[in-house]
Amino acid sequence: MAGLELLSDQGYRLDGRKATELRKVQARMGVFAQADGSAYLEQGNTKALAVVYGPHEIRGSRSRALHDRAVINCQYSMATFSTAERKRRPHGDRKSTEMSLHLKQTFEAAVLTELYPRSQIDIYVKILQSDGGNYSVCVNAATLAVIDAGIPMRDYVCACTVGFVDETSLADLCYAEESGGVSSLALALLPRGGQIALVQMDARLHQDHLDTLIEAAMTACKGVSKVLDQVVRQHLQEASTLQE
């Protein structure tokens, strides 16, 4: 396990959190005027910027249009300065493509796409600083951006990564933990109904532990949703007072 003690005997993690505690989440909505919706979200040191355009007419080939619902187009990219070692290519590599697909799936489950047939919604997410849990931060940022754009959703989509160490589930892994050999699981949740929009796990984990891990992920997601809700409410309040 790379020689790192991920969970001390006293129950503290590397960065001083307890097992179930999330990193500090800070977010702002409506950061760009040009876009239909935008949001900036920090979860610990992972920082993401999400921009939403649409719904609008299908751009490019018309054949992609769906007659009964909107097409969601996602693009994920990482800034060249986002990781410890400078990245060569901000987007378009295999990892980013995969991540884009995951985002697309997640939001197809959450956005009420059937309200906008033959149209397209673009979600662009950029990671400015990467410190673990990129996928979940992207989802959380994109949710805020979609809400900012005024696109109707079934519920907030909240995502969180959880890991499993020493019989304990760690919520919201940071980079050091992710690279420390934890079997991690990313989960996107529609918290009110408790529906799972996406689960992703590519590590080995004993079947017996899966339930506890998913349970921990869902509690963590609900924690995130509370924060997001607060952010949205505060943003609305500010926006309405400005208009007055």
């Binding site: 001390s8 001083g16 505690e21 924690g223």
Partner: protein
Amino acid sequence: MIKTEKTLHLRRFRGRKVRVVREHYLREQVPCFSSLCQADCANGIKVLPGDLTHYVVPDADVVVNYLEILELRELQGIIFTQTACQALHSKGRRCVYSAAVWYYNHLAGMMNVVMITEDEEAVAQYSSLHSGVYVISVQDYLQNFWPDLQAAQELYTSISQALEEKEAEDSQREFPEHLPAEVMEAGIKSGRYIQGTLSVNKHRALNEALVLTEGSCSQSMDLSSGVLVHGGKNRNRAVHGDVVVVELLPKSEWKGRVTALTEGQGDDRSADDGQENPMPTGRVVGVLQRNWRDYVVTFPSRDATQSQSRNCQRVLTIPWDRRIPKIRISTQQADTLQDHRVVVRLDSWESTSLYPNGHSVKVLGRAGELETEVQTILVENCIHVPAFSEAQMKEMPLSSPERPWRVDPAEAAKRRDLRDSHLVFSIDPVGCEDVDDTLSVRSLADGTLLELGVHIADVTHFVAEGSLTDLEARTRATTYYLADRRYDMLPAVLSADLCSLLGGVDRYAMSVLWELDAESLAVRRVWYGRTVIRSSYQLHYELAQALLNGEEVRVPELEQFCPEEKDLKLAQLIQALEMLTRVARHLRLQRDRGGALELEGVEVRAQLDKDKNITALVPRQPLEVHETVAECMIYANHWVARKIQESFPNRALLRRHPPPRQELFNQLVDTAKVMGFSIDTRTNKALADSLDRAADPQDPMVNRLLRMMATRAMSQALYFSTGSQPQDQFYHYGLALDRYTHFTSPIRRYADIVVHRLLTAALELEQGAEPAGILATNRELEELAQHINNKNWTAQRAQSASTGLFQCLFFRDRDPQTDLRCLADAIVYSIRDNGVLVFVSEYGIKGPVYLKNKEGQVVSAEPDGSCKWQSGKVRRYPSYITTTSGGCTSTFRLMSHITVRISVHSSNCHSDALVLEVVSNQPHRGSEPQRPASQGHRQLVQEVVRLAESAQQQAAHAPKLSREERDFLQSKTPNLYSILEEIRELALMDPEAVPRLTDPVKTGQ
């Protein structure tokens, strides 16, 4: 939910310089764990006592470098900050200082806090900032606060010198550098290098070492017997136990191993190291993992120290373990430490140095003293048994003579109450304090059914899983029995009182009750569960045997009754004992049919007088009750094993005894062939039968020796988790049972505690309830089993080392030339190139006898049998060895009796060793070998008499003696075979011997 946040900027190196940003969360509230706490911290168990003068907060550097000082038991109230533990150097000091200030404020100034650091700047910067928080260096701290604690000061100087040493080192290379890790890894993968554990030959520590490889890593050749590493240069600074990487040398440089006997002295005769059958030979190119532990070394005497010219502070010390190279230590106390045994830790071994550098940690005492030697054995076997800590003791229920602990009625209601319905009794060695097993037997349903019960102390009721006591017990894994003392696995309040099933008091127990058919003794029904019992009689073996033999003996528990009642109760007890014996005989017969083995182990106990001087070495006494009790316990273990294996097929802790490797029997078969017996080793049944047949009516020793050799060929019994082995591997070869575990001694063995928990869980599962705790998974259980196995081996090693120590102490005080007790009869059981291996049954000593000494002289026998050293030759044949000198030839045959003189080769730095010298090739004292059993026996009776006398003399010392008593008797239990064997041997003695044996003990009470 969200905490204040702070980011730490760290610089790390990975190829290039990379800046990594990590966040760090600080929380407003952490529990302070102090008993002075005013702020209602969630402290749980308070570990910081309030009655100290100050608390100490060491900073990271101090923790890294001077941890040994902080480990001293005298220093208390040490606060290790998370910062110091992670040894984050940057900003560490400020954090530690803030922690110290926080503590001071948090406890409202009720406790002074001392921060210790080695950084002078920090001392200057912080020392005057805050009253009540002192910042000082380690040296000042020790001098001001602990002026009396000499040990700490010495430790400090020793470590700081070792640190200074590190810097100034330069001279030419003595060893090639180790390869970098990547190169080694790539080499191992490509098959160029071989990875393995280095194991140094104890007898030729300077030259021979084997690298034992795990699995078959190379397909091209057979490396299963290991790779030889010859000479110190090739070993390249690897120390015994390290995981190393070796490179094979070209075939022309391969060497063979030496098979001749050498004296343990390490003085290698470089001349003829065997070229005959060369084996793969290699050289160490790197060390993957150092497995350095604490070593015991001896400081040389002043006159013997060699090159003191360069720097008189550096001393080459000689480790106790011969396999470890000399260790260089910097110390100013070389003079005072002469001939002392000291615990050292290795720091480094530079390629420029012939010897590794170390620093001393703890002084054990002068070499040769009993206490020092016993401590040495403990350290060398990595047995760490500090007194139980305050926090652990706080978990224990209270019990004092004034307010004895009582059974809780609510708890008792949940259990089956056997207090009035069953006659429960225990049979243990004399003076046993921790009674963990009791028995009961009664007839049911008008005598058509028999109910046999085994009741085991319910330790798990008191030791909750995961509690501090549980963790400590898990680390210790077993109670350590040394020849003169023991180290308990559980605190004494449990092992000697609450868990111990003493007579006449109510106790919790885990019981197994069998309903047996009264005639056929077939099992009708088995009941497992928790019970409350009250043991009526606390018998000991001799007493129980006397009762069975129908003798008039006094049972202490019956003294208070009037004669009629007494007779009635006595009759009941005797009837129960007889029933028990009948059942046990039947069980034994069943297992014998299955092929259970009776094997032989040598076990001698040292008898001490009140100053701990050894007065005699006494072989152990076998009685039939031993077998009866052992048989019932085996039966209980077997049935519990069945139960937990059925309930938890993948994660039950069982014990298996794998069948031995056939090639290990070669020596036994060959030896037996020489004697005219054939040994069939194909199955355990065949082996048991052929061992029974292989008895020489003239000489009962032959059979004993053959059994002993069979024992040596056996593999070790092991704990394992059922999920990790296929079911056909569960078999217990020695006991001939398909499933076996350890259930009956939870006070002394951690495995039994685990089994108790499993059984409880199985019972809960049966009643449909969810088991309370989460059960260990297969992997965890397997790891635990491995740990317990290791600990058992170390316990066995320590025990035999301490027995050896006492043997040496016994002979050390006697003059081998004049004292007749140093002459003994020995029997030759193996032939080597330049000598023979003999067994001295009287003292249970096995050892080599040299027929050729270093000057090339050989032993030649005169016509009357006495032996002399003369120049000549030795020739070895399969069944005998001859020495030729000056035309006359003398022969030493396998299994022949010779007379040896036992003396002690005392060595300052290592453990003393017994030296056997042949005195005569005739049996000792002419007539006696015809009936050696009775000869040994007569002496034994004398010893027992003396034992009784000394017991009377020292009534005041009685507890000590009784403890020793049972140490020896109880230490037996890991090796059931030898108990059984001893019982079997009873048949060889004259029948009237038993009463004579027990008499003195009885009067001694």
